[in-house]
């Protein structure tokens, strides 16, 4: 029983550490701060989309 508890605590600690690393150092996963979906007019479709 104690072993199972110890494993659960260890698993939770690993998960928390991983989440913290991703939260601190992860960049590309952040949602856009600006911009987003822009509706395209039929006239805009006449040429390829460019940034």
């Amino acid at each position: 029983m104690f072993t199972m508890f110890r494993r659960a605590v260890f698993g939770a600690a690993i998960a928390a550490t991983t989440a913290a690393i991703l939260r601190i150092f992860g960049g590309d996963g952040a949602p856009p701060q600006r911009g987003g979906w822009r509706e395209v007019d039929p006239d805009d479709v006449q040429r390829p989309t460019s940034d």
Binding site: W37, V40, P48, T49, D51
Partner: protein
Amino acid sequence: MRIAIVGAGLVGQRTARMLASSGFDDVVLISQSRPIEPLEGVLVGQGWPHPAARDADIVVLATESSRQPSMAARLVKAGTHVVSTADNLTDVERLLALHETAAAANAILVVGACYSPGLSSLLAAHLASSMDHVDTISTAQFGTGGPACARQHHRALASEGTEVHQAQLRTARRGSGRELVWFPNPVGPADCYRAGLADPLLLHRAFPTVRRIESRQAATRRDRLTARLPMLRPPHEEGLTGAVWVEVRGLVDGQIEHRAMAATAPHATGAAAMAAAFSHELAAELRASVVDDAPSEPWSVGVNSAADYGTIVPLMGLMSQKVRLWTYDGSQIDPTSGQERKIHAARKWGLTT
């Protein structure tokens, strides 16, 4: 020029209305079983096979997906040009197998003139045409149209799919690969999963060198849990606004780019707009090729699809009258420098030049 639409469900009726309102004066809507209410500018008929379909220059198949391969086989053997709205993976494979038959009869068979595949393939081809090198194509779809579409959505979740890995088609495990996809409003974010979808098959056919192609379908927990069971309640008459989302990653001027587009519309309207746009373009081609006796670019006898239809701009122009198209302009604040920059998710994907 006569255009016959076989199948008088939501897609069939809307296709007939769109064609009649865009100047076609000989449009016939044929129902297999159900009685049809009269539509302005559209002749109606009932039963299959129907003489109106036999005499038509173009037949749009808008019946349940599983019936379309056998109907298409009969029609293309007789030299009739066919636009198919089939969206089931197995049915699309059976339609692709008709290439030789259609080519021998000098007939054009358009496969995947639907919402997804169809509109999604069109957006992917449009984005790919703006890049020097394409590495990855991802598509996702949300929502359902009429009852037949809802049943197909249910079946797709219980079916093995296909995806392209290292430029080779392979089986994709159903229900795997959850990804949160941000569709435009009013749809918003939705979890999407791999399913039995036909997009990778058609896109791989059009872009055989693209390293990775994958498609996902939005689903709720209940959808996934009950996917292997029969549908627990009858499907709705029509679903709410649907959406398709496409992201293409590749190189532009040596720089890694990822570009995304989406379309929103009720599924049946989007599918009908695609079928009508293809019929419109095919009719124009047939009028022009009366003199030449052979189809000109981008058409070819045999199987054609939205993904490999070279000149996609006229199709998008026709279709966008009924469907809202969106492009993505995303940027974010760099957490280290505090500067704003474009999101370049592609660099995670080990792009090969």
